[in-house]
């Protein structure tokens, strides 16, 4: 196990830069996810760590070893980085059996034969594929191939495991299951993992930390909670779900702790308190991010919840989702989405309450 | 590979033999000259045995008599013969480029008169052979000069399907081919190409002038280049007549319903020549081979195949049918100097 450090890593194609100035430190045993829309540079970043692509700027080290340094012209090719990787397509070699596929990394490293057998079977047991060793690889289902790909990536106990959208080819049910299994395995083995996905739910469910990328740059690095609840920017905020963004003006600002401020804001037809990462001057305009699930329905009368934001509006659309009900509310001309308990009684005119801890101000 | 002494000796024999050749070319032999000539030849044979090997490039692909040549020279003189066969222009080009590149691999060339002449005039790849003892026995039509030694000739006639052509209808003259009854019924080797077709065109033009050929053009001749297949097509009755067919097809096609017709004017022919290559690695064996080819045994072998022997030696045991046809009058052959012009004319008359 080892840590991975990316320092100002860039990748240019001609004048176009696919990745620029990425700084990232993945700690030992940590599960870090690169998340972003297609074309954001996440896969390129992963491939540069893998050694499948060469960074045109910056430095990458794995463990204590610098594997690529653009300035010094140093580049360690993929096969000498001792990594494990799971490809989006699994890249199971169709001409080999399951056993041969998993044994491959050991064979090319000339591991003694008995060792190979023991370690392959052990790896297959880890992914619960022990009984399939002699199957021809293509005769497996997608989930099974996925497990084989993981076993193959783990079999020689790599310093680092790279995963390039490994779940994207599975259906929703299997995706959740495989994700959970893999996370459990990762925690058990304490493998440093770098994971690429464009699926934010997957990212949140699996990761210790998430790196949100857009247009080749890192927007934010943080734990799933941080990223979800306290995004740095509107872009990060909107990448996870569809939050309500309420334009507001700062009335007052108070410090709560390190990188934690409390703002009193006023919007059109409402006023309240929210949190922010940075201090704001009076009369500055901000966007207050409110996640639909953090909106509660309150009695019109009870307006005494100090420090919260209270809004009134008219329900114009509502759809039932089993556990919750998704409601669109017209608040003074702008639309808000709220996820309410499914059984909550709904009248046409509603009053909404937002806990100040869940209202997050973003620079507009 | 050869010592300086050998080289010297070879040159010497060659020079002496050349002198001898001049002597042989003169009309009268005196007895001592004859004796000396024999002595010289004896030395050449000894040198040839010493060389023990000779290489022939032949433009007659698949000539069965080449096997006789190999066997005989090996048996008689202990000289192994390597024969490389390819089509006329291929052999010519190989020899030319080998000479140009200084790769002297071949001793003797065997090629048609036209190509050999072109090689002499354009490629300059031959040395005088210095006259051979048997050169004096060559027929009048086949005189050797100081480079070319005629070795055999191909004679051409008409091939008829005996089921389709009644004996009375058989063309008796080349001119009979212009008879309207044969319109669209004659398969022919291509007149516009070197080979039998070109020879026939040349000789007919030479003898009868352009008119006859223009008449023939109205006969709607079917030109086809694959000679072996053409002969079979006549035998199967696709066409009643095929021109020109080599006499060598007579022994080959024996048993099939075809007949070789020799028009009364005579048969066109094309001679094959042997020639000694410049810087031949085995000059003595080469000349021994040339001499052997115009000797009685090889001439007999050629005759057996339906080729025309070039010497006046009496032959025995040749298939009577072939022998009879072989005695047909000769109509003429091509002049290499005019060949190109005539081929152009053929393309004009048979566009």
């Amino acid at each position: 196990m080892s840590n991975v450090v990316l320092e100002k890593v860039s990748r240019n194609f001609g004048k176009f830069s696919a990745v620029s100035g990425v700084d990232l430190r993945v700690n030992e045993g940590e599960f870090v996810t690169l998340l972003g829309p297609s074309g954001c540079g996440k896969t390129t970043t992963l491939r540069m760590v893998a050694g499948l692509e060469q960074n045109t700027g910056g430095r990458i080290s794995i463990g204590d070893r610098v594997v690529s340094d653009a300035e010094r012209g140093l580049f360690v090719p993929a096969e000498r980085r001792a990594l494990g990787m799971v490809f989006q397509s699994y890249a199971i070699w169709p001409h080999m059996t399951v056993f041969d596929n998993v044994a491959y990394p050991l064979r090319v490293r000339r591991t003694p034969r008995p060792d190979i057998r023991a370690r392959v079977l052990e790896a297959l047991r880890l992914v619960e594929m022990g009984d399939y060793a002699d199957r021809p690889a293509p005769a497996l289902s997608g989930g099974q191939q996925q497990r084989v790909a993981i076993a193959r990536a783990l079999v020689f106990e790599p310093a680092l495991l790279l995963l390039d959208e490994p779940l994207s080819n599975l259906d929703a049910r299997l995706r959740a299951q495989m994700g959970a299994e893999f996370r459990a395995l990762q925690k058990r083995l304490q493998i440093t993992s770098l994971y690429v996905t464009h699926d934010q739910e997957e990212a949140m469910a699996l990761s210790d930390r998430i790196v949100v990328m857009q247009a080749g740059r890192v927007l934010q690095i943080g734990t799933p909670e941080e990223i979800y609840q306290r995004p740095l920017s509107q872009a990060v905020a909107t990448f996870f779900g569809s939050p309500n963004l309420l334009p507001a003006t700062v009335v007052a600002c108070a410090r709560l702790g390190e990188s934690q401020f409390e703002l009193s804001v006023r919007g059109s037809g409402w006023a309240g308190v929210c949190r922010a990462r940075e201090a704001a001057v009076k009369d500055a305009t901000v966007l207050v991010m409110v996640r639909p699930e953090n909106i509660r329905l309150v009695d019109r009368a009870s307006r005494d919840t100090g420090g919260s934001i209270i809004l009134s509006g008219r329900v114009i659309d509502s759809s039932f989702h089993g556990a919750r009900r998704s409601v669109t509310i017209d608040v003074g001309g702008s639309l808000m989405k709220a996820d309410l308990p499914a059984m909550a009684p709904l009248s046409e005119l509603v009053t909404l309450n937002i806990d100040e801890r869940t209202a997050w101000a973003l620079a507009s | 590979m050869t010592s300086g002494n050998d080289q010297a000796e070879r040159r010497w024999i060659t020079r002496r033999a050349a002198l001898l050749g001049l002597a042989a070319g003169s009309v009268v032999f005196s007895a001592p000259e004859a004796a000396r000539a024999e002595d010289e030849w004896g030395k050449l044979v000894a040198a040839a045995r010493n060389e023990g090997h000779v290489v022939l490039y032949s433009a007659f692909v698949g000539l069965a008599a080449h096997q006789n040549l190999k066997k005989d020279l090996e048996a008689t003189y202990g000289i192994t013969v390597d024969i490389l066969e390819a089509r006329a222009s291929e052999v010519r080009e190989r020899i030319r480029i080998e000479q140009a590149a200084g790769r002297f691999a071949v001793d003797v060339s065997e090629n048609g008169r036209t190509t050999t002449t072109l090689q002499i005039e354009q490629d300059h790849v031959f040395d005088p052979h210095g006259m051979l003892p048997s050169a004096g026995r060559l027929k009048a039509e086949f005189r050797a000069d100081d480079i070319r030694v005629p070795v055999f000739a191909i004679v051409y006639g008409i091939l008829a399907n005996t089921r389709l052509v009644k004996p009375d209808d058989e063309p008796k003259s080349w001119l009979d081919l212009a008879d309207p009854r044969w319109k669209g019924k004659i398969l022919s080797d291509d007149f516009r190409a070197l080979g039998g077709g070109g020879v026939l065109f040349y000789v007919l033009e030479d003898h009868y002038g352009r008119d006859v050929l223009e008449k023939l053009a109205k006969q709607d001749l079917k030109f086809s280049r694959e000679i072996p297949a053409n002969e079979r097509r006549i035998a199967r009755g696709e066409y009643p007549l095929y021109v020109p067919v080599s006499l060598t097809s007579v022994p080959e096609l024996k048993g099939l319903p075809v007949k070789f017709l020799a028009p009364r004017e005579g048969l066109p022919f094309i001679g094959y020549d042997l020639a000694l290559l410049k810087n031949a690695p085995n000059p003595n064996a080469a000349r021994l081979l040339m001499e052997y080819c115009i000797g009685q045994k090889m001439q007999q072998a050629y005759a057996n195949l339906g080729l025309l022997p070039v010497t006046a030696d009496p032959l025995s045991g040749v298939d009577p049918a072939v022998a009879e046809l072989g005695k047909s009058k000769l109509l003429g052959t091509t002049d290499p100097a005019r060949m190109d012009q005539l081929l152009a004319l053929a393309r004009q008359i048979y566009p």
Partner: protein, 636 residues
């Protein structure tokens, strides 16, 4: 971009919802690539990242995705120095095999006399090419080649689809059978068809006359139709061999996806299957078209008697039938043809480059076959009919003919084994056979290795110089065989004497490698372009060096194509005459020269015997090959 694609795919792909509705089949369905990947495979530039507008500016002709790919690949291969050295070595080898003989020919076309003779440089040769007559001839040649390529392509695709993707009975045997015509020496089938289809006594016409009572002869092989038909017998199995693996290797779920989207079978075939194998298909068609331009036997045999003239017969005439040989003209014509063909090939490259049709992904595939129901007997009958017409008829003729004293004369008293005795008793035959086997084995293996390397570099890498390598490997293909043979002769003869090639068996070997490389490059290119990059990269990431990856992954996966290419090259060598006859030397006689001798001597019967032996050999090779391929496929 991705999202929109995905959304489209999601709604367009019922397989997904179907999968979740049916838990037992769920994994299976999802294991197969969805339309997303189909989209990715077809339009990777749209899905992959790393696209730049600047790249487009840099090189307007190239699809932008190539830039990303180039970068992806650049780092995959060893160190820069060893790569440069490797490429340089390859360039030198190819230059010697193709540029060197071609430059000899170029000299010949620009010089009044061939190399080694005094003369002057002039453009007379090219001037002589520019005549109206030649234009007509060129159109004739192109027309014939087009006329044979398209129907052949249709039939080849049909056969490939039937034999690779349907449940037609006896597919294994049929696959061997339908490829047989390619391996029969053309001169023999020409003769057989001459007997079957001549207007006077042709068997087919007699059958027709017997059946209808008319005296018409509807079939005349000595015509355009005959020339085209004779060529087709070779181009159908040729194209079949080149494309069948593309059909076999294709992931059927790509087609299933289309079917699920409501496309009919025919529509699926047209819009998905055909498009997926378009690279293989178009290269095969172009190869076949080029072969058609350069075909010599068919027009010589069936065209000349009908007054049909094509470029190859004209070139042959100008060398072999003129006095003196017109080398300057022949080489000039050849270069004009070469330029035209090169243009076509470059156009095709331009059209296909960057369109990456990887259909063998690392996800594995199960080559399921389409259940045709009772229609499978119709497809079976189609194959059998094809086999009957192209093989049974002519080969039957050969077989029967070989037992009679004279080919085509069936009388009891002419029944004989003499031809077999003559062939098997001939030391010349055995020497030629031995040399040919040796040259064939060594030549085909080396050619395939060279072609494999060239194809790898050209298809899988973006190395500088790969276009050059590719073009160099291709050039010999564009040069008519007769002329190329002369180029080798000149080239090898004029080498310094210290290089012992001329007059040895090496000259033949090198010429064969040069002649076979374009084909091997083609075969291996389509094999490689079927393999996804993940498969290769995955090996590198897991510790395998480039060489190990080549050995264990690339070659292991591409070897069925390798085997097909090997057989094609092997029999190409067996048949090659133009260069052989100019380069063979005493002791290194090859079978084709032996055949030439027999044929010129009117010995069609012995030629048939040898032809039949070649067919037996082909059946043997193909049978073994398919057995092994089948064994591999059954494990999939």
């Amino acid at each position: 971009m991705e999202r929109s694609w995905q959304e489209k795919a999601e709604c367009a792909n019922p397989a997904r919802s179907f999968a979740s509705a049916k838990p037992t089949g769920a994994e299976k369905f999802c294991a197969r690539p969805s339309l997303i990947e189909l989209a990715e495979n077809l339009y990777p530039q749209q899905v992959n990242m790393a696209i730049s507008a600047d790249e487009r500016v840099e090189d307007p002709g190239r699809v932008p995705f190539a830039a990303g790919l180039r970068a992806r690949l650049r780092v995959l291969e060893g160190t820069a120095a060893s790569r440069t050295a490797g490429v340089a070595l390859l360039v030198v080898i190819l230059a010697f095999l193709s540029i060197y003989p071609l430059s000899m020919l170029l000299y010949g076309s620009l010089h009044s006399t061939p190399p080694g003779m005094a003369g002057v440089f002039n453009l007379d040769g090219y001037q002589a090419v520019l005549t109206r007559q030649n234009l007509v001839m060129l159109l004739n040649t192109v027309g014939i080649s087009l006329a044979k390529t398209f129907p052949s392509l249709v039939i080849a695709v049909l056969l490939a689809w039937i034999l690779a993707r349907t449940d037609t009975p006896f597919r294994g045997a049929l696959e061997v059978l339908v490829t047989l015509p390619f391996f029969i020496p053309p001169i023999l089938t020409a003769m057989a068809w001459g007997m079957l289809g001549n207007p006077q006594v042709g068997l087919l016409n007699q059958l027709y006359q017997w059946a209808t009572g008319s005296s018409n002869s509807p079939i005349n092989v000595y015509s355009y139709g005959g020339v085209i038909w004779h060529m087709m017998q070779y181009s159908i199995p040729f194209m079949f061999l080149l494309i069948v693996d593309a059909f076999r290797a294709m992931d059927p779920s790509l087609e299933e996806a289309a079917r699920m989207c409501g496309a009919s079978r025919w529509r699926t075939f047209r819009t998905v299957t055909l498009l997926l194998i378009l690279p293989a298909l178009s290269s095969a068609a172009i190869l076949s078209f080029i072969r058609g331009i350069e075909n010599f036997e068919s027009p010589l045999f069936f065209g000349s008697p009908a007054g049909i003239r094509v470029i190859t017969t004209d070139i042959y005439d100008s060398i072999n039938q003129r006095s003196p040989p017109q080398y300057q003209y022949a080489t000039a014509v050849s270069f004009v043809i070469m330029a035209l063909l090169l243009l076509i090939v470059l156009l095709q490259w331009k059209l296909l480059r960057g369109r990456n049709f990887t259909t063998v992904s690392g996800k594995g595939y199960s080559p399921t076959v389409m259940k045709l129901g009772k229609w499978r007997w119709a497809t079976f009958a189609f194959c059998v009919l094809f086999f009957a017409v192209t093989v049974v008829l002519p080969v039957g003729q050969l077989l029967i003919g070989s037992f009679f004293k004279f080919f085509g004369f069936y009388q009891w008293d002419m029944l004989t084994l003499e031809h077999y005795r003559a062939v098997f008793g001939s030391s010349e035959f055995w020497r030629g056979f031995g040399n040919t086997m040796l040259l064939g084995l060594a030549g085909a293996s080396l050619t395939m290795v060279l072609g494999g390397v060239v194809a790898y570099i050209s298809v899988r890498t973006k190395w500088r110089g790969r276009m050059l390598i590719d073009v160099m490997a291709w050039l010999p293909w564009m040069m008519p065989g007769i002329v190329l043979g002369v180029g080798f002769l000149w080239g090898f003869a004029l080498l310094p004497h210290a290089i012992p090639i001329y007059g040895t068996i090496w000259a033949l070997l090198l010429a064969y490698i040069s002649l076979g490389t374009p084909l091997s490059v083609q075969v291996m290119s389509s094999a490689y372009s079927q393999l996804s990059y993940d498969i290769e990269e995955c090996s590198r990431v897991h510790g395998a060096s480039w060489l190990q990856t080549m050995r264990h992954i690339m070659i292991a996966l591409a070897w069925p194509s390798f085997a097909v290419g090997w057989v094609l090259v092997f029999f190409g060598i067996m048949r090659e005459l133009s260069a052989s006859v100019l380069l063979y030397s005493v002791g290194s006689e090859v079978l084709s020269v032996v055949l030439l001798k027999l044929w010129t001597n009117g010995n069609a019967e012995q030629v048939s015997v040898i032809g039949l032996m070649m067919i037996v050999l082909v059946v043997l090779f193909r049978w073994v090959q398919l057995k092994v391929i089948k064994a591999r496929i059954s494990t999939l």
